[in-house]
């Protein structure tokens, strides 16, 4: 094995970043993985199940998390962000800002004592604010690295120089308030971007009532509502009165294929709304679901049969007709007004819970990261990829994979990630 091989920096610790890192590490190339959050796992960790196999998401992600965390060729930098880049392909110098975790990584065994005692209650981003977390927290139960992190914006010590209960209760003295942010300089031969995506906030689409009607939720909020590690422990309850909903409506293309919001198609909403409808049915087979769509897009392997199975075995009704107006009755039941284009009747239908499949949008910091790395972005802030070498960015030696370049589903992100690893390996082996 050539020792003098340059390493590759993988920015982003979601499924794409993990797959790219594992491929490179398995082929003997060292990887510096940069993850902004306290744990790796990215968006996929928030999902309950994944299509088309309906595996539970964490069950197929956890082994990869563990493998990635323990792999000798992968160095994991969590709570870290890229600050600056110099040099060129084969010899990049990257400055990383590693935020202090205030927990000694070697000591903490994720026993959870500090969490019990911490007085603070903060909206839990991971659970889409459906639940509270403490100032000392772990992103999610199976998070890797499985150690706590102190959120200095909300911790009473940092805000009011008080409390420090966690320090007192910790039997392994793992808390260390004196830790400082540190800057690290890394020299790498190639860079892979796998920074993932954010969710489009449907507040701006007024007539759907998101934010005004409690029982109109986004698809990712639904994933948390129904997930075993979610706020209701796997029992699907609706936010307004914790009633277990029996009639669900999924609305596709919310914000997508829309010149006024995101003109592009987010690729996998038709599939994941079917999946979510299936899971709901599995929880309670008295549930009836309707999916409102424009074009039902299921072109991947086994996808069309998956949709047919949804229709035949999971009581899903597919209605062609985009919903533009939602009202609410006095029991907070959303009332959908839609045209069923098949019969061209315009009707109002009452549902217990409405789920909006909102578009995938680039991360808020995609623009600044693109500037730091000197790579081009498209009109919507996705990183611009070469048409016939989709893993190549506009800059030599910097590669792209996953939803940071275009909305795509998990199978494609995994393929993209291995593809980016191959291109990066080409550069490393040439250096």
């Amino acid at each position: 094995m050539e020792e003098k091989l340059k390493s590759v920096m993988v920015i982003g610790g979601g499924i794409a970043g993990i797959q790219a890192s594992l491929d490179l590490a398995e082929r003997g190339i060292k990887v510096e993985m940069i993850e902004k959050n306290a744990c790796i796992g990215g968006r996929m960790a928030q999902l309950d199940k994944t299509f088309p196999t309906n595996d539970c998401s964490i069950c197929i992600l956890a082994p990869k998390l563990a493998e990635c965390f323990r792999h000798p060729n992968i160095t994991l930098h969590t709570l870290s962000e890229v600050k600056s880049l110099s040099g060129q392909v084969g010899n990049f110098n990257v400055k990383i800002l590693k935020r202090a975790r205030y927990v000694k990584e070697a000591q903490c065994i994720n026993c959870g004592l500090c969490i019990e005692k911490c007085p603070m209650r903060i909206d839990d981003e991971f659970d889409m604010r459906l639940r509270k977390r403490r100032a000392i927290y772990i992103d999610y139960v199976q998070g890797v690295p499985s150690i706590m992190t102190i959120d200095r914006e909300n911790c009473l010590f940092f805000t009011k120089n008080a409390c420090r209960i966690c320090e007192k209760v910790c039997e392994r003295e793992a808390i260390d308030f004196d830790q400082k942010d540190e800057e690290i300089n890394l020299n790498v031969g190639s860079i892979i971007l796998a920074t993932g995506y954010d969710i489009f906030d449907p507040h701006s689409i007024e007539s759907l009532g998101y934010g005004r009607y409690p029982n109109v939720v986004t698809a990712l909020e639904f994933e948390r509502l129904i997930c075993a590690s979610g706020p209701f422990g796997g029992h699907l309850k609706r936010p307004s009165d914790k009633y277990e909903p029996k009639k669900l409506a999924f609305i596709n293309c919310v914000g997508s294929r829309d010149i006024k919001n995101n003109p592009y198609c987010s690729s996998c909403c038709c599939m994941y709304t079917t999946k979510e409808a299936m899971i709901a049915y599995e929880h309670d087979n008295k549930i009836k679901t309707s999916i409102f769509y424009i074009d039902l897009r299921a072109a991947g392997k086994g996808f069309r049969e998956y949709i047919q199975r949804g229709e035949n075995e999971y009581a899903i009704t597919y209605i062609k007709g985009k919903v533009a107006k939602i009202l609410e009755d006095d029991q907070k039941n959303p009332l959908i007004i839609y045209e069923d284009i098949n019969t061209s009747h315009v009707k109002q239908l009452k549902f217990d819970l409405v789920i909006l499949a909102t578009s995938m949008v680039p991360k808020k910091d995609a623009l600044s990261l693109a500037k730091i790395l000197g790579i081009e972005i498209d009109d919507y802030n996705f990183f611009k990829a070469n048409s016939y070498q989709p893993q190549k960015s506009s800059k030599e030696g910097v590669f792209l994979c996953g939803t940071c370049r275009e909305p795509m589903d998990i199978p494609n992100s995994v393929i993209d990630a291995s593809g980016a690893a191959a291109k990066a390996a080409e550069v490393i082996m040439r250096v």
Partner: protein, 168 residues
């Protein structure tokens, strides 16, 4: 069976290019208050589809769905994800119905006659003038009708709106 009329379709597209962008998603018919009240009998999406197919008979002669039921509230235009200007398209269809002498609601003709004769949709009647004095409102110098008629002659408004009752 309806035959697609590409010539009429291209005419409509030339006048409102945004018609092309429609992919028939149903947002307009979902947000349209009249479509909801008439359970889809009045249907903006269907009128757009007929325009895309250039179905001149349905649009101009049979007028089904009846384009005159559009209450011009512009909700469809605000919500359309492809920026199709439906209300303008419906307006140009109605203009064609009038121009081609097809039947249209009487009330529009009455208002047009009043504009031709008085320059106002609602001329000042005596009781109203008395009320205006009671309310100490200034009387506003009336429009000179000759100038209006000259202008309307230039645009040929009068014979445009004369629907051929005789012919029907």
């Amino acid at each position: 069976m309806q035959i697609v009329d590409f010539k009429f379709r291209n005419e409509l597209i030339k006048e409102d290019f945004s018609l092309n962008y429609c992919y028939q998603c149903g947002t307009c018919s979902s947000t349209c208050p009249v479509a909801f009240i008439t359970n889809g009998e009045y249907n903006p999406r269907k009128i757009i589809e007929q325009s895309l197919l250039g179905l001149k008979d349905l649009l101009i002669k049979e007028q089904s769905p009846n384009v005159w039921l559009c209450c011009t509230c512009q909700m469809c235009v605000e919500e359309c994800p492809q920026n199709v200007f439906l209300t303008d398209i419906f307006e140009s269809i109605k203009n064609r119905i009038v121009l081609l002498g097809e039947p249209y609601p009487e009330t529009f003709k009455q208002q047009a006659k009043s504009v031709i004769e008085n320059g106002l949709a609602i001329p000042l009647s005596q009781p109203i003038i008395r009320r205006r004095d009671q309310l100490e409102l200034p009387n506003v110098e009336p429009v000179n009708i000759k100038e209006i008629n000259k202008l309307l002659e230039a645009t040929g408004f009068e014979n445009k709106i004369k629907s051929q009752e005789a012919g029907k």
